[in-house]
Amino acid sequence: MATTKLRKSKFGALPWIGPAILMIFVMVLWPAIEMIRTSFQNVNSTGKVVGWSGITNYKDLMHNPDLPSIMVRTLLWVVIVTFFTIIISLPAAQILHQKFPGRRLVRYALIVPWAASVVMTSTSWKWILDGYYGILNRILTDLHIISEPVDWLGTPNQAFIWLIVVAVFVSVPFTSYVILAGLTTVPDDILEASSIDGANPWTRYRFIIFPLLRPALLVSAVINLINVFNSFPIIWIMTTGGPGYATDTTTTLAYKISFRDQNIGQSASMATINFGIILIFILIFLKVSKWKEATE
């Protein structure tokens, strides 16, 4: 212990952690503050600040006739995608946890959508769903499920459903791997004891495995909520929030208002509200991840 004390520099922690903190402050926290500040400013279309505007940006935003439906859609988007992601990941992880021929290959296959750029995955889906040349129309026509080609991404409800499908598709791999990691913490002897006691597979899952998976499930659920809420490329590539505003979420709306409509102040107010929601999710994450125990 004496040696460690001897070797402590007089600047303490600063030379070691200072540069990293500086980087985070300048490139992460400053933009956050800048964004919140901008939301209370009057910014002209060239990006110049022409004075403070109080809560005018927020008021104008609330008068956007599309906002109520976009907010409802955002809520649906986040809840439905997270729900189905977990519902699909639970059995998927259970299967990948068992031994079967080719398991390694299947695990690698599941990594692909996780590692590949979401932009490129979305592009592929956009092509698959194409109304003229898409393979999905061909498959469904051959199976006599549809009689003529459907413009999947051109009709609001269909488009939204397909965006959800793609969002679940890219979220399942990460979630399955988190649950898989959780499954490896289930002690084998408990499972053996229970099967000797005559527990059938379902009661074993319901009363032994599932309760032990709770931490993994909670953490992956909250991380998914944040990721899905922030999700931009899927919507931007496949529909750009269209037709009209029919598939926008508050995240893509904020982007549209500033970089298409050049209304930076109002966009900053939308983004600030989004940021507030994310902060709430993060607080929940801190609570469920029990991060303090991990740092001890």
């Binding site: 030379p15 985070i24 400053w30 590692a115 959780g182 469920v288």
Partner: protein, 288 residues
């Protein structure tokens, strides 16, 4: 006993195809197939000749597999430029992350200093921030710094937003190395920097590799900030460059997907290599 052993082994290798095992195998393979299918369609489209891409109805497979597309693509779209941009930006961002994260992770793993909890909280909270949520603030800052349409802007943003993951994962690797190993060297007069470089880093190579690959891929795949900040073709990374092809009058889907696959394949291989360390790093160690 000695005679019984081989038979036992044999039974273990040649598992019987019970109904349960068949179902398990089939469902496993179906899951794998589903998650790989959009990329198979990418591959099929990338080797279709041009006229077959716009044929109605679409053919399942090309009549001739035009692997030539993989040679032609380099002259048809500025793919090499996109790859160079992506590679340079991702590599620089990753190096900055490692240079800053290694000392920070090491110090916080080894010492109980004042503000340690606060520092780790800052790291954890910013790990949950995505550039998407802050894109407007980031853009305004980049304009202020006169860095619009530069590599440097993207390098700084990617380095900052991926710092947290690296600190987190490296810190847990460093903490798992017994301090006694270092203490012997300190008694011999080594400085902390020396023990970090000569003793700790070699032992924590898996952690460093994980941090490297994760940051590199995150930067390689990033889209929103690159879309907002880059405007000229020679500064655009792959994600932005390739998707800009969709906006064109006649979308060259075969070249778009040829380029996409060239971008995806190396990343998937790297990702598979670090898979077993990722979950712990991404869930703040709460799931291992």
């Amino acid at each position: 006993m000695k005679l019984a052993l081989p038979t036992l082994r044999k039974n273990r290798v040649k598992k019987k195809w019970t109904g349960r095992r068949v179902t398990l195998t089939i469902s496993g393979w179906i899951i794998g197939l589903i998650f790989i299918s959009p990329y198979i369609e990418m591959l099929v489209t990338s080797v279709k000749p041009k006229r077959e891409i716009t044929a109605i109805p679409t053919a399942y497979l090309p009549t001739e597999w035009t692997w030539h597309n993989y040679i032609e693509v380099w002259t048809k779209i500025p793919l090499l430029g996109y790859i160079k941009s992506s590679f340079f930006i991702a590599l620089m961002a990753t190096l900055i992350v490692l240079i800053l994260a290694i000392p920070a992770a090491y110090y916080s793993a080894r010492n109980k200093f004042r503000g340690r909890t606060l520092f780790l909280l800052l790291v954890l909270v910013t790990q949950m921030f995505s550039p998407t949520a802050l894109v407007i603030g980031i853009f305004r800052e980049i304009v202020k710094f006169h860095l619009v349409d530069t590599y440097l802007a993207l390098i700084l943003v990617y380095a900052a937003f991926n710092m947290a993951f690296s600190i987190w994962i490296l810190s847990s690797f460093f903490a798992s190395i017994p301090v006694e190993i270092e203490e012997a060297a300190w008694i011999d007069g080594a400085t902390r920097m020396q023990t970090l470089r000569k003793i700790i880093l070699p032992l924590a190579i898996p952690g460093v590799v994980t941090a490297f690959i994760f940051t590199f891929i995150a930067a390689w795949n990033e889209f929103v900030i690159a879309l907002t900040i880059t405007s000229s073709v020679n500064h655009q990374p792959l994600t932005v460059g390739l998707t800009s092809l969709i906006g064109q009058y006649q979308v060259q889907w075969n070249f778009l997907f040829t380029g996409s696959l060239i971008a995806i394949v190396p990343v998937v291989i790297l990702f598979a290599a670090i898979e077993k360390y990722l979950v712990g790093g991404l869930t703040a160690g709460s799931v291992k």
